[in-house]
Amino acid sequence: MGVATARTITLQGASGHVIDVQVDVSQGVVKTAMVGRPDASISEARDRCRAAVTNSGFEWPATRRVTILLSPADLPKRGPHFDLAIAVATLAASGKIPVAALAGVVFVGELTLDGRLRAVPGVLPMAMAASARDLGCVVVPEPQAEEASMIPGMTVLGARSLAQVVAILRAEPVPDAAPVQPLAPGPLLSWRGEHRIEEVDLSDVLGMADAKYALEVAAAGGHHVMLSGPKGAGKTTLAERLPGLLPDLTLEEALELSAIYSLAGCLPPGQTVMTRPPFRAPHHSATRTGMLGGGSGRVHPGEVSRAHTGALFLDEFPLFQADIIEGLREPLESGEVTIARGDEIATFPARTMFVLACNPCPCGEYHPTNRDNRCECLEVRRREYRRKISGPIADRIDITRHVEPLTRREKDDPLCRPETSAEVRARVAAARERQARRYDGTGWRLNSAVPGPVLRERWPLPSEAERLVDDRVYAGTLTRRGATRVHRLAWTVADLRGVGRPDVNEVDTALRLRSGEPLMLSALGAVAG
């Protein structure tokens, strides 16, 4: 009899911690005790493991005292995936497996009573955490081996049952077992609208040159956009075309995003790595938990995190619950979302582009720059409606654009040739390339992520351009935070134009983009639609 340690991972948000599952089998009062703050699903593991071990043809040390310690004890631990580590450590402690075989291996998997493995959510982030701690080998349920293999240099063993795992650890021939069901089965229905976003193109939209340019800048630097305009003007139409302007994800981004989807247990089957940036468009009736993350039991990533590296479109923004709007301040500013709950704090990445759309008033007809507006809302109601987006949220929006309905002259312009998404995407990719080179080794990818002080210190604006920004700050029409955001935006405009660094023109464009003022035609390129 003796003691053995197997390792597994517990997740807190998107960060993982290595947990030692230490099992001691010794003489004493016959009892199986679990210590070290297990949650309900782990306490149940005792019963599952015992049945699984017995039904796999091994002997559970039922006549001994079995103490199972999960350490470090101060971390909350969740999830059924501790089963495999507990079973393996128990077998090792009772001498069925050489203790040395467990060194450097991380075990992830839920057990069924007959000793088979079940798939669990979050394998990818667990493998990432293991890799970060120099643990080079993971044992996972077979369908998820591919997911874990995305981590470079990781040895992944996919197993179907406890018996197979034991055989591998004993270096014996591996017995056969029934295949494990993947976590998210394919959809029962497939419908035409499923891939609608991939089929829309920017060239479908006539006119709206400045709103299109605004989206291009947003895509290039990862900036937040607010589109306002009367109903039916084309806000949604434009927003849906934003993902088409984004280049494929880099390997690093793909891993982060896939990790979030793995946590949510919704990695599309047959596709382990997400290669395209996500586009999420939750309805305004969404709950706070659904938007920001949380939930009972395991903390789920919310829509803001599922849109990480992509775009989050919030149509009719003022109709979202007030506490959701408040809760968006953090992801808008820092690109992450923290869910504090009891003794547990989970942080998820949420570096997404927010695209907020709102009508100019509750009825959607009012427009301050349209003299023919048919709005019948009282000014008080308009103010009420606008107040929800004013203040802290509005200040965190980089680009504001008014979308005017298409006019006849735009529709019938014989010389207008709208650009395709692919053409714009190429420019966006080039601009992102420039940013990647500039920020190489700093951990930032896009202008929108660079902290203000660092930006001012290392990538300042020329003094004349700086003065343009300062003038607005002193005039009280721009906040300090706004000035930083304009600074970042100016860099993106410069990156798109390929001019090396922003100067007066780029800052002017950035200020106009932010304030909603009309752009200079020359900013849009030669013959703009």
């Binding site: 003299r371 006019t407 002259r409 735009e410 014989p414 010389l415 035609l521 020359s522 013959v527």
Partner: protein, 376 residues
Amino acid sequence: MSERVARAALSRLSEPGDVRLTTLVGRLGANRVYELLRDEQDVAGVYTDVAARLRGLDPARELADAAGKGIRFVCPEDDEWPRDLDDLDRAEPLQERGGAPLGLWVKGPRRLDEACHSAAAVVGSRSATTYGAAVASDLAAHLAEHGVGVVSGAAFGIDQAAHRGALAVKGLTVAVLACGVDRAYPSAHRGLLDYIAETGLVVSELPPGCAPTRVRFLSRNRLIAALARGTVVVEAAVRSGALNTANWTTRLNRVLMGVPGPVTSAPSQGVHELIRARGAALVTRGEDVLELLAPSGSFLAEVPRAPMLVTDLLDDRERRVLDAVPVTRPAGEDSIARTAGVAEPDVRAAMERLSGLGLVEQTSVGWLRTGQTIQR
């Protein structure tokens, strides 16, 4: 040599708007002036300037070449010549440029005089905003739809927006260039100019092949002003070529109009100054322009009005009574009379009127405002 060929030759020799030459031609005729120059007679110092250009000049062949490219040379003796251009001869020169052109090189299917008969020039800054471009386009589209040709300079910014607005409604537009009509300046507007040459007119004082220079733009601006009955300036910074066109418009006694922008916007500053101090009419819609260009009183723009409200029908006393009627708790006539400061019999009379309009209702304990809003 015919007068036409001589004029073509002189247009090649001289810089556009050379007042010395136009005066000479007016006195002696183009043919005589050309002969004098060819014989190396230095009249008014012109020969010294053009000597280098005289060598190898073959005006007849040049006209034939131009015809081959679909370019015609329109002279004052032609039916197609817009008589309005002759006003230039009577106008004071500006920056030493002036006078009617010797002739115009024209490309396009329309007749120049008809195109310019009731035309409006829509001009403005190259560095325009999307606001200015949208306004210029809408304005031009509205004018073109009403049969008014749109004259402009095919430059970046407002000019191209004006042309395209007219083209969008399949209207007539005239581009006046500061280079040969076979050239595209700016080169990005090659497509635009080709399209205009197919449906409208591309016009220049300069023979084919000539390149644009600074002074040529200034001379060109006088033609834009002279070919149109009035000029609308949409966005011009304090230093803008469009202000030069505005000057010519005033000098020719044509209608000068300006479209305002935000008072804080630099590209609108020049226009605001035109309106503030130079007598330009403020226009915001195509209708406004039509009203100013049409013979006096023949077209009147509709004056924008606020929607009619029920309360507009009330007199002062009735209005005071209405304001005194409570919204939630009914009040008697005596109380209303006190609040409104109106005699009780008058209140009774007012109430009759107000309830007739559905603005108040009588309950068992007094009068109450109805839910009906004051909006119609």
